[in-house]
């Protein structure tokens, strides 16, 4: 029974949990309930991935209405993997949230905070699992609206402007997307992705289809913060409450990248993309984004903002894989999507632990903390190494496939940019390390009596840190699933 409704339950459970959480009394109840829900969803996401890991596709008809009329949830290896990472990050973030939220968000807003969190969680899972492009828009709005609310809860007043900025940009993105969907519907008369994929090839030459494609691409480029449409991201990540930053940085942009992957390869097909300048455009924007954003990251004075700019650069790596359009390229995209969630999650959590202790994320306030918070410091070092792509960490596997994909197509410029990006990452990661370790502790009131962060913050952080190391050696899950996914995304390739 549960087995067959698994795909729906994953989305429905947090959705149903949200109103319940909202009416729970403030205190620890909302937190405890959301945490349990996230764990249950995580378990189901694991089960779901096992079900599709052999390469089969689950098609779930919502309400028993057969597609293409009813809404279909369509799960294959690609989105099962993304759902797993979303659920996994939520399951680790929520235990971390208890302490962090108590410190950063006023007590009377706790139940609403967790309700919004559950809604955001629902939205991201829904986007991932649905096979209906309008349904995708609905979930996109659920996740976006709740994340605007979540970001605006940040302690500093700038959180409001950051949320507002994101609201404007996000709404433009969503509007572009829905315009594109509308045009597609007008031309094909269907909203089901599989159905669309069948009807689109004969309309490839049609202007309206090309326009629709452009709208969808720009809309989602905004959501995933592809350079130069990334302007909302640094502010949002910097001023949002720590937990929100951790969750969004590790999942929201990843889900958007997945949608790109799905739209480009499943709905339109790469043959269509190759006729348009899209793939070249992606590559150019990614190259510019990787280099410029990495440089920006080096010059930041705030640790959260530094990591935010690094995120924009990292999104470039993921999109390059799509731009290359090869089996290796998609493997790189999916693997990096997964790995980057782990590394950014770990890093934002570790920075969050520092913020929890000293109340500031400015790098100049970090002086000498490395010795007082050795475990947090070690987490930042390992997470940073993974970000750089040092062998033995998950980041290395990503870099390995990306460079291999670029070499395969003799795209030497991309190879150079990826390597250069890694070197820039060394610089900004080491900026943090040096600030934490080599600067003598200042006698300011903030850092004088700092101790190691509480275990409730350290354990989730270290879970992700260890995952970074584990997936640096065992790639069965990441690379294995990506290779299964490629069979479905790029039919006809033998690898």
């Amino acid at each position: 029974m549960i087995e067959s409704h698994l795909s729906l339950l994953i989305v429905a459970l947090p959705l149903l949990a949200a109103p319940i959480v909202a009416v729970l009394p403030n205190g620890r109840m909302p937190w405890a309930f959301s945490t349990l829900v996230s764990w249950a969803v995580f378990a189901m996401a694991c089960l779901q991935l096992i079900n599709v890991s052999t390469g089969n596709v689950i098609s779930y008809e919502l309400g028993g209405w057969a597609p293409p009329w009813g809404i279909e949830y369509r799960i294959d290896a690609a989105n099962a993997l993304v759902a797993l990472i979303v659920a996994g990050i939520a399951a680790v973030t929520l235990p971390y949230a208890l302490k962090s939220v108590e410190k950063e968000i006023p007590q009377q807003q706790h139940s609403l905070f967790y309700a919004a969190f559950m809604l955001c969680f629902t939205g991201l899972l829904g986007i991932t699992l649905t096979g209906d492009i309008f349904n995708l828009f609905v979930f996109l709005e659920i996740s976006s609206l709740s994340s605007y609310a979540l970001i605006s809860l940040g302690k500093q007043r700038q959180a409001l402007t950051a949320a507002y900025q994101y609201l404007i940009m996000g709404t433009i993105g969503a509007t572009f997307f829905i315009i594109g969907v509308g045009l597609l519907y007008a031309m094909t008369g269907t909203l089901n992705m599989v159905d669309l994929a069948q009807r689109l090839p004969e309309l490839y030459e049609h202007r309206t289809i090309q326009t629709a494609f452009a709208f969808i691409m720009v809309g989602f480029a905004l959501k995933l913060a592809l350079f130069p449409l990334h302007l909302w991201l640094p502010n949002a990540y910097t001023y949002a409450p720590t937990v929100v930053t951790v969750f969004l940085a590790a999942t929201a942009t990843k889900v958007a990248v997945y949608v790109m992957l799905r739209v480009v390869f499943s709905v339109f097909g790469f043959t269509f993309i190759e006729d348009t300048p899209t793939d070249e455009l992606f590559i150019i924007l990614c190259i510019a984004g990787i280099l410029m954003m990495s440089f920006y990251a080096i010059y930041q004075h705030d640790a959260k903002r530094l990591l935010a700019y690094s995120s924009v650069a990292q999104i470039g790596y993921m999109m390059i894989g799509i731009g290359l359009g090869s089996a290796l390229g998609i493997t790189a995209t999916l693997v990096h999507l997964f790995n980057h969630a782990l590394m950014k999650g770990a890093l934002f959590m570790a920075i969050g632990a520092i913020v929890y202790q000293i109340g500031s994320s400015r790098i100049e306030d970090f002086s000498g903390l490395g010795k007082k918070m050795p475990w947090t410091f070690a987490a930042i070092v390992v997470g940073g190494l993974s970000l750089i792509g040092v062998p033995g960490t998950a980041g290395f596997i990503s870099k390995w496939y990306l460079i291999l994909a670029a070499i395969e197509q003799q795209h030497w410029l991309i190879v150079v940019v990826i390597l250069l990006g890694s070197l820039l990452a060394v610089i900004y990661v080491w900026k943090l390390v040096e600030a934490l370790y080599f600067k003598p502790a200042t006698e300011s009131s903030k850092t004088v009596s700092v101790q190691e962060a509480p275990l409730m913050l350290l354990i989730p952080t270290w879970l992700l840190v260890l995952a970074n190391v584990y997936f640096g050696f065992n790639t069965e899950l990441t690379v294995g699933t990506a290779e299964t996914a490629i069979q479905l995304l790029l039919p006809g390739t033998n690898k």
């Binding site: 190494l385 750089i388 792509g389 040092v390 062998p391 033995g392 596997i397 870099k399 390995w400 460079i403 291999l404 070499i407 395969e408 190879v415 390597l419 250069l420 890694s422 070197l423 060394v426 080491w430 040096e434 370790y437 080599f438 640096g472 050696f473 065992n474 790639t475 690379v479 294995g480 290779e483």
Partner: protein, 490 residues
Amino acid sequence: MNLANQQLILLAIFLPLIASIFIAFSDKKPNLREGISLIASLSLLATVLSLLPSVLAGEQPSIVLLEIVPGLPITFELEPLGMLFACVAALLWPVNTLYSIGYMRGNKEKHQTRFYVCFAIALSSTMGIAMAGNLLTLFICYEILTLSTYPLVTHKGNEDAKKAGRVYLGILLSTSIGFFLLAILWTWHLTGTLDFKAGGILSGKVAGPELIILLFLFMYGIGKAAMMPIHRWLPAAMVAPTPVSALLHAVAVVKAGVFSVVKIVVYIFGLDTLKLSAGADWILWLAGFTIITASIIALQQDNLKRRLAYSTISQLSYVILAVFILAPLSTVGAALHIAAHAFGKITLFFAAGSIYTAAHKTNISQLNGIGYRMPWTMSAFTVGAISMIGLPPTAGFLSKWYMLMGAFQEQQMVAVLIIIASTLLNAAYFIPIIYAAWFKQPAQDDNAAHGEAPWAIVMALMITASLTLLLFVFPDIPLQLAMSLIGGNP
């Protein structure tokens, strides 16, 4: 005890790693901590030596640990050159631990637990490099070695250490990620394998300018070999405590660099493939340039450790030069030089640290007449210096002999000239130190009353000095290993 060779390989790699955990937990008990270090280093030596007979008998034990990327496992395989390198490192670790105890206590250094932990991890990755069965494994261990030695280089934690750490990590990481990784990926793309195979996996797969570019990516990707102009990290690393300079920046780290170079030339490119390419000649010239230039710079250094560092840069390029002569005999010379230079240079660094501990002197101009106050130290120093110059009865003579034989065999007169010229330069920067120490009068204002360094230091440097002499008298085992590297007979 009769463990299978496979388990012994794993033991050699993981033993120091496990030891590092125990060391970390004995933070507050210095005696226990250093006891564990000593026991770990001696057991590692026993492990490595027990692998020796089967390698000498021609076996190449190997073990696959796990598969990282489909078709590309982490695997360890012990071949003769790796055996030689592992023996040298494992032999010198206990000696160096003994020395460290004397030095770190004598100088009342802080953070000693971290020091011993990082040291053990560095040794573990050195074993990994020595026994790596493919390029990926080598690369992983290579990077771990870089990162685990960073806290050792920046041990003092002050502004100087931070700057030196930046240079160290900056050069080693950027060359390895920028060039070495690219070269590995390119090789994987071209051949579909990264295994070390006799005759080279790239033979017939790449030619012309592509081969030259790939060769340069490898040579400059291995920053640890310190070929100019990417040598600056080595003098920078001298801010570290002397035991670090001694074992890591005269033996483990730098030898890991040239060891990788030799392995890549012999097993990835293959001597015959390189003979057809002009690129090999260019590297030969660059190595020759490095030998001469580094020697000239060494000549101008007054700080003893810096002079030794530049001498190391020059000596490392001997190995590169020797292997790029592309004659079997000079390859033997290259392999022998890895061992010979290790013993000689560690002795010299030990002596430098000994002088610093006992007399707090760092500059050569302060060393007048010190030989009579510290006779053991300066005798050992003299032996080490003679080995650097390459005179009998020391190990340095042996390796230079094979290099020259190879160079004559291949009619590489340029290489011969470089070796001769640099021998003169080596003499020019070592003999004045020896002369000053034994024959000059101490300066008038030098009235510091000091004797020898602590016994642990003296004992360590006497052991390494004896090893330098012994290697000349009994060269059989290293020679046999080096010979089997090129297929048995020259």
